[in-house]
């Protein structure tokens, strides 16, 4: 008989192990999925997770893509992680990503065709500002009217998308573009182009910024009073208030920060890999980044790894589409399963599974009828002796 039992302290080991368990379970369930589609599951998993990095024919193309796809995911997820830690739920990073691209891109187009080293930094700043301001809408509504930021930020994604659709057929349409609903191509505008810095690596300015942000966020969370306040608010609202943290300020900071990060990612994507604004521009990075943030345990280094893994599923999914003929939706199913399994195994952090060898029908006077064991890995931390007496 199985029984769930709360742990006296959250298990640190489980905290680190469960993401890996989730990845394994996803591979397993994905294997079944592909088998039912008539594909050899081992082939599918190889194509998804191995070939993009190591296959001799495709890797030279797909390997750089890893950083190209991971950078926006990681930047957005880093921003989200602060709010998520503090219990402020920005679900609308996709919208802030779009607005960052629109505002930053517009800033670049406004000075077109001026050349100069100042053009790109100006676009970057405008992009971050666009995302920040878009995120301030849920922040202000939350502070002023206590409106739920989950709903507001999510709905604003669709508003942002429609603004984008309106602009690419209107003010931002490429005058030399034969009426296609697209903006000018930034790849053809040297001062604005977020080009690959080292050939064949996929590294553009956004990737460098991503690496810097990972370290910076790590530092802020550990050693800065803002990071401490974020963590404290996530633990207990009342303790945070007692510490003197103004919940309104915290809401504005967390939403603003995640918006600015998403806007940054949007601008880097626009000026680099995407090249131009169009209705095909949003790729869902803003939503996938939510999975990345949680898969990475809201920890900057974890997010770095989770972002790389998630980028791999994108690339592997594309590869699987034309090599194995699996449907495009397989990628989303994969990503969905990853989050699903992560949440499912998450309870092992706070609970352990106890196995009773004998049914409890005896008088209860006999000691030692229970054996304890974690399902995944060896004995739990129950021996620590720190149970409050």
């Amino acid at each position: 008989m199985l029984r769930l039992e709360p742990r006296p302290e959250p298990s640190r080991r489980m905290l680190a192990l469960t993401p890996f368990a989730a990845v394994l379970l996803t591979m397993l369930a994905g294997g079944f999925l592909f088998a039912s589609l008539g594909t050899n599951p081992l082939d599918a998993i190889r194509v998804f997770f191995w070939d993009p990095l190591f296959d001799s024919t495709v890797a030279s193309y797909t390997r750089p893509q890893l950083l190209v796809k991971a950078a926006p995911l990681i930047i957005i997820a880093l921003g989200l992680s602060f709010g998520f830690r503090a219990g402020i739920w920005n679900i609308g990073a996709e919208g802030q990503f779009i607005m960052g691209a629109i505002v930053g891109g517009s800033a670049g187009l406004a000075v077109y065709p001026a050349e100069g080293v100042w053009v790109f930094p100006m676009m970057v700043a405008a992009g971050a500002l666009g995302g920040l301001l878009w995120a301030m809408i849920p922040a202000i509504l939350k502070i002023r009217f206590n409106a739920n930021e989950i709903l507001v930020s999510l709905m604003l994604v669709y508003v942002a998308f429609n603004i984008l659709a309106g602009l690419v057929t209107g003010r931002l349409r490429d005058p030399d573009g034969f009426n296609w609903p697209e903006s000018r191509n930034f790849q053809a505008y040297p001062s604005a182009h977020n080009a690959e810095l080292f050939a064949g690596t996929g590294v553009h300015v956004g990737v460098i910024v991503m690496a810097v942000l990972v370290l910076l966020c790590h530092l802020v969370l550990r050693n800065h009073i803002f990071g401490f306040h974020v963590r404290l608010a996530g633990q207990s609202r009342q303790a945070a208030r007692f510490a003197g943290i103004n919940p309104h300020v915290l809401t504005a900071l967390c939403l603003g920060l995640s918006g600015a990060f998403a806007g940054l990612a949007g601008l880097f994507e626009l000026a680099g890999p995407a090249g131009k604004l169009s209705t095909n521009f949003p790729l869902g990075y803003g939503f996938t980044a939510i999975i990345v943030a949680f898969l990475g345990r809201l920890h900057p280094i974890g997010i770095l790894l989770a972002g790389l893994l998630m980028a791999l599923t994108y690339i592997g999914g594309e590869l699987a589409q034309f090599m194995l003929n699996v449907p495009a939706a397989a990628v989303q199913v994969f990503q969905g399963m990853l989050l699903f399994f992560l949440l499912a195994v998450d309870f092992l952090v706070n609970y352990r599974i106890r196995v009773r060898l004998r049914p409890p029908e005896d008088t209860g006077a006999a000691p030692g009828t229970e054996t304890r064991g974690d399902t995944v890995n060896g004995p739990g931390p129950g021996k620590s002796g720190e149970e409050p007496a």
Binding site: P8, E9, P10, N223, H224, I225, F226, F228, R231, L232, Q235, S236, Q238, A239, R241, F242, A243, G244, N246, T363, G364, A365, A366, P367, G382, K383, S384, G385, E386, E387, P388, A389
Partner: protein, 506 residues
């Protein structure tokens, strides 16, 4: 008298703790039997085993001669063991009769039930109106509902867990009369408490527990409070010695403070006025839920108040938040340790940072905002050493500490910041006797150094022991402070009852 319940060799181990270690005692028919011990002595675990909430690892019980091993409370109740918990389990939106019906397996129809409730309440002097909504009742009345609920099952043993902690002295007297009537009719009562005077007045015999073992059985009437305490703690207790320093200039002045409560069931503060001088210990007595929490929030700065209502050394701090007030020297320690004063999953260092960041300069100066972790660790260590907090180290999570140790940490964290005014709410609530004495001594010493100390407490003995003057808070109003010297517990109790009963529900 014959033995009703015979407990032999009851043992229960939790990971890392032997909560009960071969406990043996017996309860006679019609006896009021006290179970006395500090927090963590094993009282709760023992009664939970008797009531079927916890299964013992070994040992056996006999009830009226037959083997008694209740697998769940329902079975214990069927065998005649009923329990009134420290925390009530009543639905506020329902009437008394509806609440009682909910707890019954097979409730009679409403009219019969109301009549039975009336019968029980008149015959035992438990004034309870079955038709009233529980939300409107005072804590004492709610407790009576719980007792009536138990008595309707005609129990052979009634277990009472710390029943007087929420009562005024007058309500306590009423309760004792009821319990004595019950006992005279042959019901046995197992009375759990750490209040020594109560046990001396009420109980026929007492079993004293320490560290999960029975250390003594005695007749409390033949003992002194001091000798009972010695048995309970195992060593002599340090008794706080009240200082006689002359109070200095006025540090904190509250005038006409009225405030709505943040929580829907909270109490509105009404026209609170008092002042606190350097070196003075002012006690605020009152039954729980009469505005104590709201007062603490108003003073800590978690709730802002109108300009001019809170003056710290002639400076208006009403509109300032907690950090600014700390900077000026107004510090507070709220009642709820985990989740308010301390973050449960954070380390002691991190918890030290929560309030000490400003005054102890634990965040580097300038606008960098970087935390000085080595200094923070040192400060946490300083608190642990100075207040004898038992913990392996500063990296341990706050929730891994026992209640008393965490309380010492939380109070010590404020005291070592050298406050000008310190406000504490229930400083020794749920804390064992030794830790409580240490905290009281620390508060008195702090006042001797010229700090103004405001102690909000429901423990009247505590206030009598440490405060120079006291006020009573009831229904959100505060009485004018009066000197503690010469006042008796009964005087304070009368103030609590008279102003509280009519206003508390408003």
């Amino acid at each position: 008298m014959t033995t009703l319940l015979d407990v032999r060799g009851m043992t229960k181990a939790y990971p890392g703790v032997l909560a009960c270690d071969g406990i043996a005692f017996d309860i006679r028919e019609g006896e009021i039997h006290a179970l006395l011990g500090e927090n963590g002595a094993g009282k709760s675990t023992l009664v939970k085993m008797i009531y079927g909430l916890v299964r013992p690892d070994s040992g056996e019980m006999r009830l009226g001669g037959t083997l008694f091993a209740p697998p769940e409370p329902r079975a214990a109740l069927a065998d005649g063991v009923a329990m009134v918990f420290q925390h009530f389990s009543l639905f506020e939106a329902l009437t008394v009769a509806e609440n009682i019906a909910l707890g019954m397996d097979d409730p009679p129809n409403a009219a019969t039930l109301v009549k039975r409730i009336r019968d029980v309440s008149t015959s035992y002097g438990l004034a309870v109106d079955p038709d009233r909504i529980v939300g409107d009742l005072s804590a004492g009345e709610r407790q009576r509902v719980e007792i009536v609920r138990c008595l309707l099952q005609s129990p052979r043993i009634l277990i009472m867990d710390e029943p007087t902690s929420v009562l005024t002295p007058q309500e306590v007297a009423l309760l004792f009369r009821t319990l004595k009537t019950l006992a005279a009719e042959g019901t046995s009562i197992l009375y759990i408490s750490h209040k020594l005077e109560e046990i001396r007045i009420l109980c026929d015999r007492a079993t004293i527990l320490r560290n999960g073992q029975v250390v003594a059985t005695c007749i409390p009437a033949g003992e002194t409070a001091r000798s009972l305490a010695a048995m309970m703690v195992g060593s002599g207790l340090a008794v706080p010695e009240k200082h006689r320093a002359k109070p200095g200039e006025t540090l904190l002045e509250i005038s006409g403070l009225s405030m709505r409560s943040m929580s829907p069931f909270g109490t509105r503060l009404k026209d609170i006025t008092f002042s606190l001088r350097a070196g003075e210990v002012l006690g605020i007595a009152g039954v729980a839920g009469n505005g104590q929490d709201e007062l603490l929030l108003a003073l800590s700065g978690e709730e802002r108040s109108p300009p001019g209502t809170i003056m710290l050394a002639s400076r208006d701090v009403g509109p300032l938040g907690p950090s600014a007030r700390r900077y000026l020297g107004l510090l507070a320690a709220p009642e709820q340790r985990l989740g308010h004063a301390a973050a449960p999953d954070m380390s002691l260092s991190e918890n030290a940072l929560i309030t000490a960041a400003v005054r102890r300069r634990l965040v580097r100066r300038g606008w960098s905002g970087l935390i000085d972790w080595p200094a923070t660790d040192r400060y946490a260590h300083e608190v642990i050493t100075a207040f004898d907090v038992r913990t392996p180290g500063v990296t341990n999570a706050a929730k891994s500490l026992s209640g008393g140790n965490l309380q010492k940490f939380v109070i010590g964290r404020e005291i070592l910041q050298d406050p000008r005014v310190l406000v504490v709410n229930q400083p020794t609530w749920g804390v064992d006797a030794a830790a409580a004495a240490a905290i009281r001594i620390a508060l008195i010493e702090l006042a001797e150094q010229g700090t103004g100390v405001l102690v909000i407490s429901q423990d009247l003995d505590e206030l009598m022991e440490i405060s120079d003057s006291f006020s009573v808070i009831a229904g959100g109003r505060l009485t004018a402070p009066q000197p503690t010297r010469g006042a008796t517990v009964e005087d304070i109790g009368l103030l609590m009852g008279s102003t509280g009963a009519s206003d508390a529900a408003a």
